[in-house]
């Protein structure tokens, strides 16, 4: 499979370039922005002498290129610096938060796909009907939602008023075994739903329009002419082809999804990377902020890479 191999290599190279770009942009921003570049390493609350000592220790007096090389070398070794406030390596602070963010975004994606596919198919199958217009209207509204607003609304109605779900955190402290997993799921429900609602609009609208396009193509007309029931053509023939552009959209939107996760985690005090960012902002903990961006960028790149590779396996057309 030489085509598949070269496709994989190209995607891998692109992922690496993206990570390099993210890392370099961060470096340049931190060093070249107006204001004190030393803020990136030395806390503004330190005294003058401590700060000078810290700057010396981190080699901020060296030329920019030397600093850049050292920065890249440290990153390759997984060193993201030290948190001001917690005194621990940023990588360990963030890595213990990352699984929660992955769980939240993953669950949101699953909900988006599970709800989005039937809605999109329904709207496309009855294009122009009242139902179609309703789905489109909801889709456009969904795209205009502000994540924290949705989060607070769900938290208030389903969490506080109805009491169906816990209103914050990621798990109950005093339960073990199977019950612990159950409590994780119950805590996950509201944040994942909030995030999915914001994501859903774009998904449904794209799926709908690509499906309508696919249904108008010759192979669908042929299938219909050959006597295959409409429903089967819709779900088996058209949907399979419409899913590719839609999945590409999901890949493109992963960056937005991560941004939404930051806000959602803040609303629900969910212990992921996003909540870590919120706490780092209030404490002006720049190494954590920088590390969080790098880590999330790498996560998005890896997720995109995986999607691409799976699609390369499933669909020969994308290998070109």
């Amino acid at each position: 499979m030489p085509a598949l191999a070269s496709f994989t290599l190209r995607r891998l190279a692109r992922g690496l370039v993206t990570v390099w770009f993210a890392v370099t942009v961060t470096f340049l921003l931190l060093r070249l922005l107006p204001g004190d570049p030393a803020l990136a390493i030395a806390s503004p609350t330190m005294t003058e002498e401590t700060r000078a000592a810290v700057l010396e220790r981190y080699g901020l007096a060296d030329p920019l290129v030397v600093q850049y090389g050292r920065y890249l070398l440290a990153l390759v070794q997984g060193d993201l610096g030290t948190s001001f406030t917690q005194g621990q390596p940023v990588s360990s602070v963030l890595l213990e938060r990352l699984p929660w963010t992955l769980l939240l975004t993953g669950a949101a994606l699953v909900v988006t796909v599970l709800v989005g596919i039937p809605l999109g198919v329904l709207a496309a199958a009855r294009a122009g009907s009242g139902l179609d217009r309703l789905v489109q209207g909801l889709g456009v509204t969904g795209q205009s939602l502000f994540v924290p607003s949705v989060g607070v609304l769900l938290l208030y109605v389903l969490g506080l008023q109805l009491g169906w779900f816990p209103i914050g955190g990621a798990y109950d402290r005093d339960v073990y075994g199977g019950e612990w997993y159950l409590s994780v799921l119950r805590h996950l429900a509201l944040p994942a739903l909030s995030l999915a609602l914001v994501q859903l609009g774009a998904y449904v609208i794209t799926l709908r329009s690509t499906l309508i396009e696919a249904l108008g193509e010759d192979y669908c007309a042929l299938a219909r002419a050959g006597g295959i029931p409409y429903r089967r053509v819709l779900w088996k023939h058209a949907l399979r082809n419409a899913l590719l552009p839609t999945t590409t959209l999901v890949g493109l939107q992963l960056g937005f999804l991560v941004g939404g996760a930051v806000l959602t985690e803040t609303v629900y005090a969910y212990p992921g990377v996003g909540r870590g960012i919120y706490e780092a902002v209030t404490q002006l903990d720049f190494p954590v902020l920088q590390g969080a961006f790098v880590l999330l960028a790498v996560t998005v790149v890896v997720a995109n890479l995986l999607t691409d590779l799976v699609y390369g396996l499933l669909d020969p057309r994308v290998r070109t």
Binding site: T26, L29, L33, F146, A202, L249
Partner: protein, 329 residues
């Protein structure tokens, strides 16, 4: 203007609500497809007709109730921002009634310091609209310039395409957070930060049309008539991409509102001026978010009204400027 003859290779029924909010890719730009068919590049013909095309678009726009309604909502929001000093006193200090629900005296209730939430929302519309206008104006100018330059000089285009792809695949909000925290949350900083990370989206949309337009015969004709690249770009290329830019302005502005609100919600709003995101942030800080529903409901509705109206207006404009969808109606 007479309806242009339909190109033979027609798309099946074009969705009336296209994924314009997703940045209007090629399918959101009807001209991009029609332009490949010689003879009837819809957008280009329209632009060449000048004022009458604008009038036609406006006439078609007025026939869309949702478009008119959303334009009205945008107008009201702008009016509220301009008339803020008349509508409410600047919310400051503390008030006597703390966390009071909405009443005749305080339409939107009061916050944990007894300040009037109605006043906060009214004054907050100023900074929200300012950030939206400022950030989208900057992003549009930069994004269009980059896209057009790339389309004109193919060597530049490879780099443009690469940078756009790279920036669009990064989680932008965490990057904005980092920069805003470093430089300090001022309204000007927020505008610059949002603009700095929004232009690639504009470039992506404008570039796809510009690349089609530069290959059209009339551009070759223009090249024969003048050696001046500036002349061709400003007189022929820019007008041809203007409709997409208009849609982009609106979408970038509404994205900017959401980004600014997101930053403010995380504590990166300008502490010296009110914004909708700041009202939410202070409610969160005070731990009053879940108990005092009015603290979050009203600024949230304001954000939704602005973003939704902008999105609907851009969709209506997109439909109105496309002669093919006009014929169908």
């Amino acid at each position: 203007m007479a309806a242009p003859t339909r190109p033979s290779a027609q798309q099946p029924s074009e969705p009336s609500v296209d994924p314009a909010a997703e940045g209007a890719t090629v399918e959101g730009v009807p001209g991009a497809q029609a332009a490949a068919v010689p003879g009837a590049p819809a957008d280009v013909e329209q632009v060449a007709a000048g004022g009458s095309a604008a009038r036609d678009t406006w006439r078609a726009f007025r026939r869309q109730p949702l478009g008119v309604l959303s334009l009205g909502v945008l107008g009201v929001l702008v009016a509220v921002a301009v008339l803020a000093p008349v509508l409410a006193d600047y919310p400051s200090g503390t008030g006597s009634s703390v966390l009071a629900p909405p009443s005749a005296q305080h339409w939107f209730g009061t916050d944990n310091l007894g300040r009037d939430v109605f006043a906060q929302v009214v004054w907050g519309s100023r900074s929200s609209l300012l950030v939206a206008a400022g950030a989208s104006a900057l992003a549009i100018v930069l994004g269009t310039a980059v896209a057009v330059a790339g389309a004109w000089w193919p060597r530049l285009d490879a780099l443009v395409g690469l940078v756009v792809d790279l920036v669009l695949s990064l989680p932008v909000l965490p990057l904005m957070i980092l920069v805003a925290a470093l430089v300090g949350p001022r309204t000007t900083t927020i505008v610059l930060v949002i603009a700095a990370f929004s232009w690639p989206e504009v470039t992506r949309v404008v570039r796809s049309l510009a690349l089609t337009v530069v290959r059209l015969p009339y551009m070759d004709a223009a090249r024969l008539l003048t050696p001046s690249a500036t002349w061709i770009i400003t007189r022929h290329l820019l007008p041809a991409v203007t409709p997409v830019v208009v849609v982009s302005v609106v979408l970038t502005a509404s994205r900017a509102v959401l980004s600014a609100a997101g930053l403010a919600f995380l504590g990166l709003g300008d502490p010296r001026s009110w914004s909708w995101g700041r009202v939410l942030f202070e409610a969160q800080q005070a731990g009053a978010m879940s108990s005092a529903w009015w603290l979050t409901l009203f600024p949230s509705l304001a954000i939704l009204a602005l973003v939704l109206a902008a999105t609907l207006a851009s969709i209506a404009f997109n439909d109105a400027r496309d002669p093919r969808s006009r014929v169908r109606r």
